[in-house]
């Protein structure tokens, strides 16, 4: 009941933030090819003085052309975003922690026409996220975990990169969005039944995007706001003397349309539902290696868009300090 109360409060708070700040409320299509920041922020709870770090590689491959929910057979366009992510979290005490996420981004647009290939590639430091987290319930003490967090997305990445002729590229090929954004985050997990290693979790991430006031020199650009919901279940299994933790999550993401100079852009925004069958390997007492493929189940895009076909994340986690031995990580994108 306590958990449910927290969950309801958080959902009401998040909805309030999104609705009040967004009129008109739209969200970030570029994210479908963009840098996976908001989906990666936030560690699970740890004891006071624990430093958690994770480095990961994220591949987002987009080659599915859709109008609404309809797929167009078209093999001419491909977009890939590869991100190197460095995440760090420090637990100041048992109920408060600071998390940070930094990114370095490689993007590619590839068009194949009459057997000719045209490619544009960009790379650079991406944006970063800082987040203050409040641990309201601890898994070790209650069998349930509740965390709420809020923080800014810092526009560290450039949003004015040019191609090799010096022509400014558009927003979805830039490593940064050029705007300060607000991210709210909630994580709820509970051990299931008599298996302390089996955990069900729910994660909600809301992103309220600011405005890039210097887009293409004289315009403004605002990526639409978004909300993501992850629901998953995971367990730990022992094979030989190795500990593995398989998990299965469903991700729902809603993104509204982008705006240029306050005007809604067609062919942006949408809804996506993906499935994430993940596997982590406890390679040491404080270290975990994880692999998370992400497979699209359903999407309904605004207008016509190239939308993700496949996604993969490989990461390495290490904790400097004691971690909960019974913890089963359900990794998130």
């Amino acid at each position: 009941m306590v958990i449910m109360r927290y969950i309801l409060r958080y959902l009401v708070l998040s909805a309030g933030v999104l609705i009040s700040g967004t009129l008109p409320a739209y969200s970030q299509t570029c994210c479908s090819g963009g840098v996976p920041l908001s989906g990666n922020i936030g560690f699970e709870g740890a004891r006071r003085g624990t430093l958690q770090m994770e480095v990961s590689y994220d591949l987002n491959y987009l080659a599915t052309l859709k109008t609404g929910a309809e797929i167009y057979e078209d093999g001419t366009r491909q977009r890939t975003t590869q991100s190197l992510l460095l995440k760090a979290g420090y637990s100041i005490n048992d109920w408060f922690a600071i998390d940070a996420l930094f990114s370095y981004v490689f993007q590619e647009r590839k068009i194949t026409f009459d057997e000719e290939i045209n490619q544009v590639r960009t790379s650079g430091l991406g944006d970063a996220v800082l987040m203050a987290k409040f641990i309201l319930l601890s898994m070790a003490e209650t069998g349930s975990e509740v965390q709420l967090g809020i923080g800014p997305k810092l526009p560290l990445g450039r949003s004015d990169l040019t191609n090799n002729q010096g022509i400014t590229l558009n927003a979805d090929l830039q490593p940064g969005s050029g705007s300060w954004d607000a991210i709210s985050w909630g994580y709820f997990a509970r051990q299931l039944g008599r298996r302390p290693t089996m955990v069900a979790s729910l994660r909600v991430v809301g992103r309220l995007n600011g405005v890039n006031k210097d887009y293409l020199g004289s315009q403004t650009y605002k990526f639409g706001n978004s909300v993501q919901l992850y629901a998953g279940i995971g367990d730990q299994l022992v094979w030989g003397n190795q500990v593995f933790a398989p998990s299965l999550s469903i991700r729902y993401r809603y993104a509204g349309g982008d705006q240029i100079s306050g005007q809604l852009l067609e062919n942006t925004g949408g809804q996506w539902i993906n499935i994430l069958p993940a596997l982590s390997w406890h390679v040491g007492p404080n270290s975990i290696l994880h692999v998370i493929p992400e497979i699209p189940l359903y999407s309904q895009v605004g207008g016509t868009q190239l939308t993700p076909s496949f996604r993969l994340q490989i990461g390495f986690y290490h904790s400097f300090g004691r971690i909960n031995k019974n913890k089963s990580k359900i990794y998130q994108l």
Binding site: N118, T162, D172, I260
Partner: protein, 361 residues
């Protein structure tokens, strides 16, 4: 030990991402626009990447055409761009052009590229025989003042659709030779040319041709997706107008200048006599130099209900919507073409800030 090995493998995987064959074109380097400016005839900082990339919007080449009666995907009010060579009439619907922007075609011996920019609403017929070489044009993915930059596949040079010249590459400075086109509704076009053929939706690409891909863009006057160098609030940005480019001067004609029937305007621009004819109800405006080829200036008056004939003159000639004399003593002659086309008001105002509006004091 096991941990160190894993960290090493992971880091190596990441480093490999930065070591691919082709260098990243922009990377962390600052803009190289200044050093490339000299290769462009237009300000490079006003050229933008449109998003889909080069050929990301695929131009069509000699697409399948069908008889008008088979074009179930068109309704009477849909806009088409019409072209006629001899007795062969061809319609290029906006429904197709919105998704492909360029159609390279071959009509009765004439090599034409119908270029259409959905963001500026400009449809212009280009001769795709350039310096004696027949080429095809593709969509470069670049925009100048929100307007299409086609590229030719023979030399990879970039051209400006509204400027009507090559702005970058081997052919820089070469001017475009245009063909007269008529933009009107499918209903009017069929009435003018009942035996017309029209581009089929069987283009080889899977697109929803009945759906306009830019949402409310053509009616939301404040929505411009890319920056433009000049704005002029005398008319709403997206109002469809007819512009004549002559001797460095530009004059705009609006549908309000024309009645429900055919209206003829005899006008003078930079010392040149022009004749402009059209109908607001039937949704077309066309223009020509008032010169049938021998220097004579004729006095035109409208002809009703005889499409494609729209004008007559004091000699008793009947002239069609492409400026061709179809009956009378000058049968077979043609009014000298003039650079003119339909487009959104803002696009003319951007490219030609000193333009005038017909009837404006």
């Amino acid at each position: 030990m096991k941990q160190n090995l894993l960290v090493g493998v992971l880091c190596s995987t990441m480093l490999l991402q930065g070591c691919e064959d082709e260098p990243f074109s922009s990377g962390n380097s600052s803009s190289s626009g200044s050093k490339n400016q000299e290769s462009w005839a237009i300000p490079l900082d006003e050229v933008f990447d449109g998003g889909p990339g080069k050929d990301g919007i695929p131009a069509l080449t000699e697409p399948e055409s069908i008889p008008a009666g088979d074009a179930d995907y068109l309704s009477d009010e849909d806009l088409v761009i019409g072209f006629v060579v001899g007795d062969e009439a061809r319609a290029y619907p906006h429904h197709i052009l919105d998704w492909h922007e360029i159609i390279n075609d071959h009509v009765t011996g004439v090599n034409i590229s119908v270029t259409y920019c959905p963001l500026t609403g400009t449809g212009i017929g280009w001769n795709r025989e350039v310096n004696g070489t027949v080429t095809t044009f593709g969509v470069s993915g670049l925009l100048y003042n929100s307007n299409l930059i086609p590229y030719d596949r023979s030399t990879n040079s970039n051209w400006s659709q509204i400027r009507l010249d090559c702005v970058n590459g081997e052919l820089k400075g070469t001017e475009v030779e245009t063909f007269p086109l008529v933009e009107t509704t499918w209903k009017t076009w069929k009435e003018m040319y009942p035996s017309t053929r029209v581009v089929s939706t069987n283009t080889g690409y899977n697109r929803s041709y009945g759906r306009y891909p830019y949402g409310g863009y053509r009616t939301e006057h404040d929505l411009l997706i890319f920056p433009v160098s000049n704005m002029d609030d005398r008319l709403p940005n997206k109002e469809r107008v007819h512009g004549i480019l002559f001797q460095g001067s530009v004059r705009i004609y609006t549908f309000k200048d024309f009645g429900d029937g055919v209206t003829v305007i005899n006008d003078n621009l930079q010392g040149g006599n022009v004749v402009v004819t059209g109908s607001e109800k039937d949704n077309f405006i066309v223009s020509f130099l008032n010169d049938p080829g021998d220097g004579t200036t004729l006095s035109f008056s409208p002809v009703e209900d005889r499409y494609p004939i729209v004008m007559t003159d004091e000699e008793g000639n009947m002239w069609d919507v492409f400026g061709r004399a179809v009956t009378g003593p000058r049968t077979g002659s043609q009014l000298r073409p003039i650079s003119s086309f339909m487009g959104y008001w803002f696009s003319f105002a951007t490219f030609y800030p000193d333009l005038s509006i017909y009837g404006d004091s």
